[in-house]
Symmetry: C2
């Protein structure tokens, strides 16, 4: 895969855990590698993914961007296979490939005709332990990443604002740093950093192999044993060390005004527990609440702001629950012409306050739950999305049993749970972002 | 000294470098200890200070508060002198003592009749290398610090807001963490952390001895040589490792509304270079600008907001230039009854914009410079303040030559420099804080 196509799964992409679905087989090799096989016999293809349990939130202090940088460097070749060979082979087989870095994980995948699964395994296993990094490769790739940052972030006011909002919400925790890294940190990343990081995290104990497709689990596990089983284990999985987020209790409004902004936009982000950090039932209630508030055009935000009051052209909310540490619940809207962001802010706060004060109708609750579960089932229609659910869930501490029980746990959410969740949306633990055309800059 | 009297020098206390003054003698012992002697013969007393070049910004990641915690623990006794003995001795001699932790340094001082200087040296040298820390001492002291935090910060909305403002301005740099530490970090501090920190930073190479008073420099240096010279050097000074602040470009408004707030208040803080990080002349121009804007009742902010428009009951500005890394320039005001903080914000932004757009009158420039230098001379009247200038300056990378030349450098600031400094006050690199009574909470 060419480096420019290396995709990031941004922290804001919600990955709901998978509801009832195919029978999944799991195994663990002697070297610690976890294997999950998800049969899907609709077409003679297979999706092969390796997930590493390290993302940008595991970047060492002052080395933000190293996880993402290493994702780029993983395409730079090994002792036996020079850079580009793997990608050309996959392309030659008519396959697809990609890689992405998120806050909590890094993943590599290929989708090929099922008879080529062993090729993916051979090459992926090879670069798990035989990556070759020279200064000739590392230095130019750092420039590629810096250029990627300039293109995506530094020239895009919306992305700059998102960075500042995350940095304000997570005052110390590494979720406050962008996945791609801060420019000043990226500039300092070198071969030694990359090698140290690779040695620390690219180990079988830290990896999860997810294979979804037209395959039989025993055969996949045998093949994985033969190929990945050759990699020596390190004895234990690497430790993830992260700073705890202090309990900052003041609302933060981040404003960015720029001549490039044509459409103002509003977001507000609450610090909330994730599926992993929440008390039992709490994350599910936040999921239902977010869906009720802002999941689609039947949601409370959309109906009120866009349809009834016509003060917004779009509005929504979602819960980024698949995270290792405390995470985010977002509400957002784009104002109709002439409407201020302060008006949207007041209205959205009022709608959230309504749920906290008056609860949620039984019919609305039932609709939110049914729709959430249905959405998850529809999403399984894509083999890649199916494999992603398993990978992202397992890489953030969610078990196969948790995934299987997710629909029941959503079903179990009652109106009182949703009210409790709405009370969790504390303005003192939230950040609001205003994106504005230049002239209206606050304090400017 | 009892632990409860251990004072912190908060990051917001500006410490102007010292203008022309007494002839200062400096020396360095073989073990690396720096010595500065500042003669002051007005009274037969002496101020004895030891400054360590480590403050809260050097706290290891996830261990915020350790610098301050160690300041407490330094009163817990050594092999030869049990806890309390030193403090009782100083009190018995009619002396005073204190200690303080700032973002960039930690300092210990005693003020005694001059004939007792050697006593201070003996005890201070003793605890530089012979501190005894047991779990019996460390665990209860941690509770003392947690209680100190509860009393000072957690129960004081103004202090909570200040913490949140600093955390928003310094999104990654450790100036964004409070000197006392985040509660969750303090709770995790133990004897091992304290010992590791003590071993790393409490070394002669990392210390500066400042003696001000009715003394002769050669005699002081001889005495220091005899007492402090016994401490073995470590070969080199400890490294200060700090995360760089990324270039976040979005204005941040931090709002805290609380029933305990009776008087609303406004502050805005700009990220600016310090004396150490600025280009030549830039810090001096920021100093003059801050004084012109908000130094005293003749300043532009005070005259306009308090006297002419009567929209504020107080207003001012200052530059916290004595810092190792990029630092802060503050403007603040308290509104007159019925005036909103938004009104103050608009007005203060307008006044800063005026300087940037139209410059500064020659008479105003001359007045600001004369007054700045005069203030610094008046402050020398206190022997302790005098010693503090030297200690704080030297501990943040300012040399004795820099200190001596400070008045000339301030004199050299011209109107164009001040305009350039005003342009540095970029709203995109600033944070505004609103402290409000409960009902007016933003987004609540």
């Amino acid at each position: 895969m060419s480096k420019s196509a290396a995709a990031e799964l941004t922290p804001s992409t919600p990955i709901p855990a998978k509801p009832s679905g195919p029978i999944v087989t799991s195994a663990r090799l002697g070297n610690g590698l976890d294997i999950v096989v998800v049969p899907d016999h609709r077409a003679p293809v297979v999706t092969h993914m390796v997930w590493y349990r390290n993302g940008s939130a595991d970047d060492p202090v002052g080395k933000s961007g190293i996880a993402h940088f290493l994702e780029h460097l993983m395409f730079k070749g090994t002792k036996d296979h020079p850079a580009g060979e793997f990608s050309e082979l996959i392309a030659g087989l008519g396959g697809q490939e990609n890689a992405f870095t998120s806050t909590d994980f890094t993943a590599y995948f290929q989708r090929v005709a099922k008879e080529h699964l062993h090729v993916c395994m051979e090459y992926e296993a090879d670069r798990m332990s035989n990556l070759v990094l020279t200064d000739e490769v590392v230095a130019p790739e750092r420039e590629v990443v810096l250029e990627e940052r300039r293109m995506r972030t530094d020239s895009d006011p919306a992305d700059l604002l998102n960075e500042a909002v995350q940095a304000a919400l997570f005052t110390r925790h590494p979720y406050g740093s962008p996945v791609i890294g801060w420019q000043s940190d990226i500039e300092g990343l070198g071969r030694t950093d990359a090698l140290a990081y690779y040695d620390r995290f690219y180990t079988p104990e830290n990896a999860i192999l997810v294979v979804a497709g037209d395959v039989e689990p025993p055969a996949v596990i045998d093949l994985a044993h033969a190929v990945y089983g050759r990699i020596p284990g390190r004895g234990e999985a690497p430790k993830r060390v992260r700073v705890r987020e202090p309990d900052v209790r003041a609302h933060r409004l981040v404003t960015l005004a720029d001549p490039k902004v044509e459409q103002p936009s509003y977001q507000t982000v609450f610090l909330v527990p994730s599926y992993r950090t929440a008390a039992p039932g709490e994350a599910e209630a936040l999921e239902v609440l977010a869906h009720h508030l802002g999941g689609g055009q039947a949601s409370r935000l959309f109906k009120t702001l866009v349809i009834d009051k016509r003060i917004a052209v779009s509005a929504g909310a979602y819960y980024a629950g698949t995270a290792l540490d405390d995470t985010r619940l977002y509400a957002y809207a784009m104002p109709a012409p002439g409407v201020s962001l302060e008006t949207l802010d007041t209205e959205i706060a009022r709608l959230i306050g309504e749920v906290a004060a008056h609860g949620i109708e039984e019919a609305d609750l039932a609709r939110a739950k049914t729709r959430l579960i249905a959405d998850a089932i529809y999403a399984q229609d894509s083999q890649v999305a199916l494999a992603q659910w398993y990978g992202a869930s397992l890489a953030t501490g969610i078990s196969l049993a948790d995934i299987a029980a997710w629909p029941e746990r959503i079903e179990a959410v009652n109106a009182a749970d949703v009210v409790k969740a709405a009370h969790r949306l504390d303005p003192r633990r939230s950040v609001t972002g205003f994106l504005l055309p230049e002239a209206a800059a606050a304090g400017a």
